[in-house]
């Protein structure tokens, strides 16, 4: 179960280029449990288009998708329960904090679950649980979302999706616009949710340091083609990254600089500052 892409392509008409191919012949499988996946690629590589397919917000123009047993093709199928797909797969857009609209945090988080025919009481309970899951206490329930800080707004908007209790959670650049400390807090939170609940989480990001430190699977899109699906380290061992307009993690860049300048033989594949430091101490003859 989960999501399976079968030769999926998506094209749309564009004034500038005639027919524009956003993603091409994508084959991909995402299981519904315990996955923690990064999706990377330069601007316009098709990341958001790919993500929108995952909960059937858009349909492939060719190929097919299987989402929890439902077959999605170019043609809208009456037998497919799109509503249930969207309950299973939650999608958080970029800058979700701009989409908050209710007068209290509680109402805002309840909005999603209420669309799935549950009672007010149940929705309230789910709102509270989701809020706690994103690390905010009950005192936030009665607050006005507009008076929260950027980081808090982001959390509330993510809670809004979590309250629908999706199996799979997809987030489009959730850490952009946050300071480094806020970025780590949010990433730790996602990792925590993944470990505690077993929900599969897919995160679109440009930050290769985060990709290296947090994820065990990374998908790379380039001009609409899925060109890599595997462990981050394997990706960073490839020389092609620059060709795809992607960057290497900072630890790797700094350590290879030292190797080059001082003719050292450090193992450059270190994920964290601490690991890099140990490696310098070991290989730098200190």
């Amino acid at each position: 179960m989960g999501i399976r892409f079968n030769q999926v392509s998506y094209e749309y008409p564009s004034f500038a280029e005639g027919l524009y191919s956003a993603i091409r012949n994508i084959n991909l499988e995402i299981t519904e449990k315990n996955e923690f996946i990064a999706l990377v690629g330069h601007t316009g590589s098709g990341k958001s288009t790919l993500a929108k397919h995952m909960n059937a917000l858009i349909f492939p123009t060719s190929g097919s998708l299987e989402i929890y047993g439902n077959i999605i093709t170019a043609k809208r199928n009456r037998k497919v329960k799109y509503n249930s797909i969207r309950k299973k797969v939650g999608l958080v857009f970029q800058f979700p904090e701009y989409q908050l609209f209710e007068e209290t945090v509680e109402k805002d988080i309840m909005f999603g679950p209420m669309n799935f025919k549950i009672t007010q009481e149940e929705a309230k309970k789910k709102a509270k649980e989701a809020l706690n899951l994103v690390g905010l206490d009950d005192s936030y329930l009665s607050r006005n979302p507009y008076n929260l800080s950027g980081g808090e707004k982001k959390r509330v908007s993510i809670a809004g999706i979590l309250a629908m209790d999706p199996d799979i959670l997809i987030l489009d650049e959730p850490t952009s616009g946050l300071d480094p400390a806020g970025r780590r807090v949010l990433m730790n939170l996602f990792q925590d949710i993944n470990k505690k609940t077993g929900k599969t989480i897919v995160i679109i990001t440009h930050d290769m340091d985060l990709v290296y430190q947090y994820f065990n699977r990374v998908l790379v899109l380039n001009d609409g083609n899925l060109i890599f699906d595997g462990e981050p380290e394997k990706l960073f061992r490839s020389e092609d990254l620059i060709k795809y307009h992607l960057d290497y993690p900072n630890t790797i860049k700094v350590l290879s600089h030292l190797n080059k300048e001082l003719h050292l033989n450090l193992n450059i594949y270190q994920k964290t500052l601490e690991e890099a430091l140990e490696e310098i101490k070991r290989g730098g003859l200190l």
Binding site: H42, F95, S149, A181, H206, V254, L258, L262, L285
Partner: protein, 267 residues
């Protein structure tokens, strides 16, 4: 008298909690200042106050000898342009050409001159081939380039980049940074608000805001030696400097430290 002078500036949005407090700052003409600070530290508020979009509670702002008041705000805005974080939120024109023209139209630049300037500045930002395109068909980086062309066409002398690179991929980001360097070389005064420490290192000076106050404002190389400033303000140093700071100063470690410093500060 400095080119930009901020004296005893206080600001709050609701009259209660101060977002900016006792800000005193001097920027010289042609300087490239990077502004760092945690979310909510007052960076964007400071930028908005500088162009007169927000009125300070207390204190004064003087730009190129002109005191910022309601009467002079129009004059001062001609001197300063802002490029915002989200390139989609700052487009007003239907085509790239319209967009570059917008600022000049407001300044009543004669038509002939305007046409000339649009071509000139579009070429400068490598967007000459895109003049008749719709902004929606451009990449994020290209949209930022167009915004810059519009500002340059107004003959602004100061450009504020308010996290202008944060929504761009690494490639477009590098392109934009390259372009900011060119503007700096040409003598424009640049204030760059950012969360990216590696970007900030390119500037002449770094301003660190912490909870609405200036934590430090110094030459880039000097401030990078003050780890405590970064810790105090909840900011991160570049990893190369964190590594350098964690190493002892003896034998091989000294050599490695030196290389790490060079790496971090190479522009």
């Amino acid at each position: 008298m400095s080119y930009i002078e901020i004296r005893d500036l206080d600001f709050s949005y609701n009259g209660k909690k101060k977002v900016l407090e006792s800000i005193n700052l001097q920027v010289e003409k042609g300087e490239w200042i990077a502004c760092l600070g945690h979310n909510g530290s007052g960076k964007s508020t400071l930028a908005k106050a500088l162009v007169g979009l927000l009125e300070p509670e207390l204190g004064e702002i003087e730009i190129d000898g002109l005191l910022l008041t309601e009467e002079t705000a129009y004059e001062i805005r001609k001197k300063i342009g802002i490029v915002f974080q989200n390139p989609d939120n700052q487009f007003v024109g239907v085509t790239v050409r319209d967009d570059i023209a917008f600022g000049m139209e407001n300044l009543c630049v004669p038509r002939e001159e305007m046409i000339e300037k649009i071509d000139f500045y579009a070429k400068k930002v490598n967007m000459l081939d895109f003049l008749d395109k719709e902004p929606t068909n451009l990449s994020g980086g290209q949209k930022q380039q167009v915004a810059i062309a519009g500002i340059l066409a107004m003959q602004s002398e100061i450009i504020i980049f308010d996290e202008a690179t944060s929504m761009l991929d690494p490639f477009s980001r590098e392109e934009l940074i390259k372009y900011i360097r060119t503007l700096h070389k040409e003598g424009l005064t640049i204030i760059m608000i950012t969360h990216d420490i590696n970007e900030a290192l390119l500037a002449d000076k770094i301003l660190v805001l912490n909870k609405g106050k200036i934590e430090a404002f110094e030459e880039t190389e000097k401030i990078m030696k003050k780890r405590e400033v970064f810790v105090e303000s909840r900011l991160e140093l570049p990893i190369a400097l964190d590594l350098a700071n964690a190493l002892e100063s003896n034998g091989n470690a000294t050599k490695i430290r030196k290389k790490l410093w060079e790496y971090a500060l190479t522009k």
